[in-house]
Amino acid sequence: MWLHPHPDQALSLAVQFCAVGRLIGVLELMLVRGELAHSGFLDWTMIGNLSPHTRMRVGSVIRRAFRLIGPRAFAGVVVVNAVVAAALLVYPSSALLIATAVATQLVMIKRHHLTIDGSDQMSLVVLMACLLGRIGADAVSLRAAVSFLAAELTLSYFVAGVSKATSSYWRSGSALTIIAQTRMYGHPLVARVLRTHPALGRAAGRSVLVWESLFLLTLTAPLPVALAVLAAGVAFHVGCAAVMGLNRFVWAFAASYPALLCTNIAIRTGIGVSVADAITIAAAAVGLLALAVGGGARPAIQPGQMAAAARETRA
């Protein structure tokens, strides 16, 4: 099932992965419930002081509705969140449960607007796509939802890779060292290792760049290659969790890995194995050439340029 998931299985696994991420989120919220109290960073009487006027009328309605949600009601939302997430581990194909999960995810995102990150957004995207697939409830809808998840995952990594490929920090290999030195997303042990072994930092940074940029090859690559790339993805996200504290990204992004395998099988079956292999090889060659030629490694910003950088990057 794991290596050759059926669309129904792929969507179920996606929901289950997201459910694990949500249960972790609920546990984390419980461990810092003091922040929900007065003067806490999650105190709604403070963070709720937002204008009710938003771009879309729906946003305004949501914000106005939030003003009616007291602490008890929010505690109820958290309980529902946890119960639904646990239920989704057992009933991952239930459209009603998924819809409730989407609604509670949105509530949490809107409430904790200062602390959301990419994993919250990816979880919402995955759950919404799975919901649409389950609403359609036929083979075509399931296939469409699976294809969407595969495409969204591929797009996310590709955009991240291209963005890094155009960055002097990432191309020169200094980005990981820079990030590792920060308290926000770094770790002192890792920072020390990367400082004393700069070649390691360069290799790791460029590996991430290449892996993300060429991730889309998994759509057509032979299964062993696709699995190797996905395994690298799991290792990447686990590494980000360990070093940067981005623990829920593992679940939010790996949720779509079964969908990607499912889509890979469908594409290779549809266009033929030899054509798929040819496309993979050609795309890999073009991609690697583009990465090697485009831009060239420029030196990363040096300490002497910090003043200019400070003015530029005050945010």
Partner: protein, 193 residues
Amino acid sequence: MVTSAVIAVLAVWFLMTALVQLPAQRCKRIRRYDPTGNLLPGWNFFAPKPIQADFAVWYRAWGSYDEDRDEVLESGSSAWRELAGIEQRRFMDALVNPGRYTRKSIFSCCSRIATTMRTINYEPDDLRDLPPSEIMLSLAYLLLAERVSSLSSDAVAVQFRIDVVRHAAGAARAATVFRSAIHQVSAEAHGEG
């Protein structure tokens, strides 16, 4: 018909997501059609410019007013103390990371204040100047002020500052970029009324 609608929604949604990734402002405006505000995310993590510095929030408190002037004196404050929350993380955070709420909140508040400073071209020559109202009335400022007030419940006044901490060759260099006004600690923070 439901199937067609599902396919159409997913196709249009993906197309919009792909367009939103492009740098053109016209493409970014597609986000106005997202009622949730979170279904068209940008996927360029830590790129093209990775995070290069930290924010550190420090605060100090005054235990009493100057009797003659009925105000607090600069020299009468406590030592600056760093607001807890952005400590070094533990490897256990790889599994469960509850500290992210506090850490991200502090970072977001500082980031928003820094962005506002840049937007209104506020670069104080003297950090003792009163910050502009655009900053003092912002949610980010109020959150930090409320937090440091609650930590200084036995004080009569508090003040916080934001440092940008840059790292090079294992050494950290901090520069204060913002200092708040001096705020009276409310009776609520004292646990009264």
